[in-house]
């Protein structure tokens, strides 16, 4: 039990601190790296919830692919100095505002409780919940349609990316003319 708590608090704090780092860092690269940290910490928390597949997928997809691209972009932009003070007053307002929002929501959560609302009865988590075979099974049975549909979605995304990124052969002459 103690170990469990320790684990949770360690990664929970890590996630929170890294999250703060994302917002407060002055350099985008630090923000990005903090975000990587957050992702990893959250993946660790998923592990604790026995959602192993989710944990690994989180790291492989977000840390290993998405964030790498972001970091790439930042490095290629070569931003050394950020423009202006990152915490201008309006941003402070934003922070205060978000905090208030969360506060309101927490208050409502409390009201939920005080009204005696406990949510619908939920079945207890099965022992193999979140493990790879379980996830795989539901992907190919219950969620077959979304799973297949995502494939089409990705096709659309690939086509879109190609359309936007490809240099049309006709465009070259005009560009050269512009350069002249």
């Amino acid at each position: 039990m103690m170990l469990n708590a320790l684990y949770f608090w360690f990664f929970g704090t890590l996630a929170a601190v890294c999250g703060l780092g994302v917002v407060l860092s002055r350099h985008p690269m630090h923000s990005a790296i903090s975000l990587v940290g957050t992702m990893i910490a959250i993946a660790a928390l998923f592990l604790q919830l026995h959602s192993e597949f989710l944990a690994y997928a989180q790291i492989i997809v977000y840390t290993g692919a998405v964030m790498v691209l972001i970091v790439f972009t930042i490095s290629l932009l070569n931003l050394r100095q950020t423009a202006g003070n990152p915490m201008c007053p309006s941003r402070w307002w934003g922070v205060v505002f978000v905090a208030l929002l969360l506060l309101v929501f927490s208050a409502y959560q409390l009201i939920d409780k005080s009204h005696g609302f406990a949510g619908p009865a939920r079945p207890s988590v099965p022992p193999d919940y979140g493990q790879v075979p379980t996830v795989a099974r539901s992907l190919f049975t219950t969620y077959l349609f979304p799973f297949e549909f995502v494939a089409v979605l990705l096709t659309a995304a690939v086509i879109g990316a190609t359309v936007l990124a490809r240099q049309d052969p006709e465009q070259h002459p005009t560009e050269q003319e512009e350069q002249k």
Binding site: T142, Y143, I159, G160
Partner: protein
């Protein structure tokens, strides 16, 4: 290991979607192998796919397929027809339009078809997961289509803004879905409705649920451009290639409404006392702001962008009526709105060799191209709600529904803003017919498919305006 049960497939339930996807893939293959430079093959394949899908929508049997993630009922079939018609007309308009810009590429049609698939999945979704995926499919394709003119700065800007803000709004949507899931423990609409009806204390008032619903409304409000979630509309509508604008204004909007109907009117009608007021305010604001801002626009696409916003407000009014009346009025207006909006944007896309004309540049169109001017006038009159056109009955049903549910004030605002809208719609007609053009305008060669699309849309407007019952009969079958 491999002993799990093969799921009930229900392929017949997604036949239209399947056919469209197939057409999209075939176009890609054609593009790859044959190098279809003129886009003829792509056009004919898309048209064939759309028509086949349209026919397939008549196979609706009311069954839920794929583990209740999708439903194949009359509502979804009807919505499918709206989407397919919008896509069909847009496809036809796109051909001459793209040819004009030397961009007749198969990818355009592929993305258009895939966007339509996304809409149809949204319309048929019975689960947050499928709904979200449909939305993403739709949005993703449209983001790219909006930026299809890579040489054009405004087109790129449109794509960028649409993408950033769309992602932002989607964030709210997913957040909201998560909260609803948290409150009810399921993502399936039918299961949610069941939980609600079985719950005690009364579930509809659970704050977590309402919190989620509010966020969902905001997220989808972006898609259907309700004020204040409409800010992207003018820039994106203006920047995007005009046929794409037409699709965003009709199909995408209709899909957003479809999702709202499924969630709010069918799944959570019991919480009306909580979300009703939200719709009231949104509809009010949208009608006023949309019409008011449209008044002062000088660029025609921008004007229609605001006009489209305003129309979203009228549509939102339907949510205040009692479920079945509201849904029917909404569906009817969606049909009418699709015809006339695709119509105006179709004319806009074919009226000049240059995009983004000013309203004053439409002067003298009636002489140069009487056909375009005539159909444009028809669409404008319909948008303004002239009797005898589809727009009249659309508005009539909506306003009547609102009045009957006791929202007289809102209906009055609707009527007043409609009167306001006459001003800016008629201004275009005045320019077309009563002013001489100051500079010669290079008119587009009005190719066959573009003309066909406009004639079809005009026929739709007139038929719905004279025989509203033709559609109304199938709308009545929704319930």
């Amino acid at each position: 290991m491999n002993n799990f049960a093969v799921p009930i497939l229900g392929i017949q339930g997604i036949m239209p979607e399947l056919l469209l996807s197939l057409a999209a893939v075939l176009i890609l293959l054609l593009e790859m192998t044959a190098g279809d430079r003129e886009g003829h093959g792509a056009l004919s394949l898309s048209v064939a796919g759309l028509i086949l899908a349209f026919i397939a929508t008549f196979g609706a049997d009311g069954k839920q397929v794929f583990s209740s993630l999708l439903v194949n009922d009359n509502l979804s079939a009807l919505l499918d027809r709206v989407f397919l018609m919008a896509a069909f007309l847009v496809t036809l308009v796109s051909r001459p339009y793209l040819a004009n810009y030397g961009l007749a590429k198969g990818e355009f049609f592929v993305l258009l078809l895939l966007a339509t698939v996304g809409m149809m999945v949204m319309g048929a979704a019975m689960d947050f997961i499928t709904m979200f995926l449909g939305l993403e499919m739709l949005s993703l394709s449209l983001y790219v289509l909006a930026g299809f003119f890579k040489k054009d700065v405004l087109s790129g800007e449109a794509a960028f803004k649409y993408f950033i803000l769309g992602a932002f709004a989607t964030g709210f949507l997913v957040f909201g879905m998560a909260f609803v899931f948290g409150a009810l423990g399921t993502t399936n609409f039918a299961a949610m409705a069941h939980t609600l009806s079985a719950g005690s204390p009364p579930f509809p008032s659970v704050p977590t649920l309402l919190f989620g619903l509010a966020l969902i409304l905001a997220g989808l409000g972006f898609k259907i451009s309700l004020v204040p979630f409409h800010t992207w509309v003018p820039d994106v509508y203006t920047g995007a290639p005009t046929p794409v604008t037409a699709l965003i204004a009709t199909g995408s909007k209709a899909a957003g409404f479809a999702a709202l109907v499924r969630i709010f009117m069918i799944t959570f009608p019991g919480s009306f006392q909580f979300w009703g007021a939200a719709f009231w305010w949104l509809a009010l604001l949208t009608m006023i702001v949309g019409n008011l801002f449209a008044l002062v626009q000088v660029e025609i696409k921008r004007m229609f962008a605001y006009s489209s916003v305003a129309n979203g407000g009228y549509l939102a009014m339907a949510f205040l009526s009692h479920s079945d009346v509201g849904i029917k009025a909404l569906l009817f207006y969606l049909f009418a709105y699709t015809f006339m909006t695709v119509g105006v944007f179709g004319v806009v896309s074919l009226a000049g060799r240059r995009e983004r004309l000013l309203i004053s540049e439409y002067a003298g169109l009636s002489r140069e191209n009487p056909f375009l001017a005539a159909v444009m006038s028809l669409f404008l009159l319909s948008l303004a709600g002239m009797p005898g056109t589809a727009g009249f009955f659309g508005k009539f049903y909506l306003f009547a529904g609102a009045v009957r549910s006791g929202y007289l004030g809102l209906a009055l605002v609707g009527i007043l803003t409609t009167i306001l809208s006459f001003y800016y719609y008629l201004r275009v007609i005045v320019y077309m017919y009563m002013r001489e053009s100051e500079m010669p305008r290079e008119a587009l060669e009005l190719a066959g498919s573009g003309r066909t699309a406009l004639v079809l849309a005009a026929a739709g407007v007139l038929i719905l305006g004279c025989f509203p019952n033709l559609i109304w009969i199938s709308i009545e079958q929704v319930f």
